[in-house]
Symmetry: C2
Subunit: 218 residues, 2 copies
């Protein structure tokens, strides 16, 4: 499969590299037509890896990942609007505010979500929110955390969610640990959860954790 | 122990009844000096149960619980300010907005928390946030959910947190499943998490669940 990865940071690198390992072709996209980080990544990741700007990456992919920093995601996907039309766009980003220094604050609320803003910016893309609730290395290798921890899925397009579940499965997330929360507005839940994730990260001093869902009798 | 329970709804009733079962004396407080709900509860709960207004309940208790609806919590604790001075106040509330009908939206953000607003309103109380991340029946009987699910704790006063851990232990929360997130600002995390809790509740159509914390190698 050809995959466009928008974003050249740690998350884009983790997802791009994992997709290459899985045998896919990946084009990493950046704001500028040429990005040193994207070109270096493409060089190190081998023959199936390439780089370009956001629009190039989106055109290239049969599906795409939004791995840009949440603060710039709407602008990034807007610049790749035509290339994303009709395609699954897995949004893994969070909007983090470092203006008061680390640890960052998150701007998520129950009024809107980044995933919904992205969907409004690229209405012809089929946006699915997932993976934003774990560290980037856990996103692509959930076996780093033992036990039945879970990942969430939100989106308006059932076929797109089905396709996202398959990609998550390739990353190592068994379907029974993928929780479909519902339509894209439900992405507000996992986006707000990051406010707890940041405090857990502070309390246990490690990013190597995730949550499980334990259920009683209904 | 004498405990003041502020709030006469399902949460106040669950916590008050459980405290009575555990052998404590409980005064349930309401907005008005006399509340039919509080009086009925006190009558049904036996000799160690009584009722009054918020200030009465706060004066009565050696510790207190804020179980009022989050929208009215600051007003409620403010009216009980003198009685709460120096005491552990366990805030279990969430601010829910039903203005668009059910399911409610939550107003939590990473800028502030209800727990901090309560602490500012009653600076001499020793506020600890906990239990707001589970349904009321799970708060007081965590064994309803099998497995190692967890509960969070936030507060500025170490001795108050120590006392809260003991009360949680009486409810059935073993100390190793109580996660101390840090100071009271960390309450923003569990308060924001409720945005995810509401979507999980919608997706699995049950309130009988909680999250576990699974950890990998640091």
């Amino acid at each position: 499969m050809k995959v466009g990865v928008l974003g050249t940071g740690m998350v884009g690198t983790a997802i791009g590299t994992r997709l290459i390992e899985l045998g896919h072709e990946v084009r990493m996209g950046s704001r500028q037509a040429r990005s040193e980080k994207a070109e270096q990544w493409a060089e190190s990741a081998g023959d199936r890896a390439s780089s370009g700007d956001f629009a190039d990456a989106a055109y290239f992919g049969e599906i795409a990942f939004n791995c840009t920093a949440g603060e710039g995601s709407v602008e990034a996907v807007s610049s790749a609007k035509v290339g994303l039309a009709g395609k699954l766009l897995i949004d893994v980003a969070n909007v983090l505010d470092f203006s008061n220094g680390p640890p960052p604050m998150i701007s998520a609320t129950d009024q809107d979500s980044l995933a919904e803003r992205i969907q409004r910016a690229v209405p012809e893309a089929r946006v699915v929110k997932s993976l934003n609730t774990v560290n980037n290395d856990v996103m692509v290798d959930p076996a780093r955390i033992p036990g039945d921890h879970v990942i969430f899925l939100s989106g308006d397009d059932q076929a797109a969610k089905r396709q996202a579940i398959e990609v998550l499965g390739e990353f190592g997330w068994p379907e029974e640990r993928v929780i479909d929360l519902g339509d894209l507005t439900t992405a507000r839940g996992p986006e707000m959860y990051v406010g707890l994730w940041l405090r857990l990260w502070g309390a246990i001093e490690s990013s190597q954790f995730n949550i499980g869902l334990l259920r009683g009798q209904a």
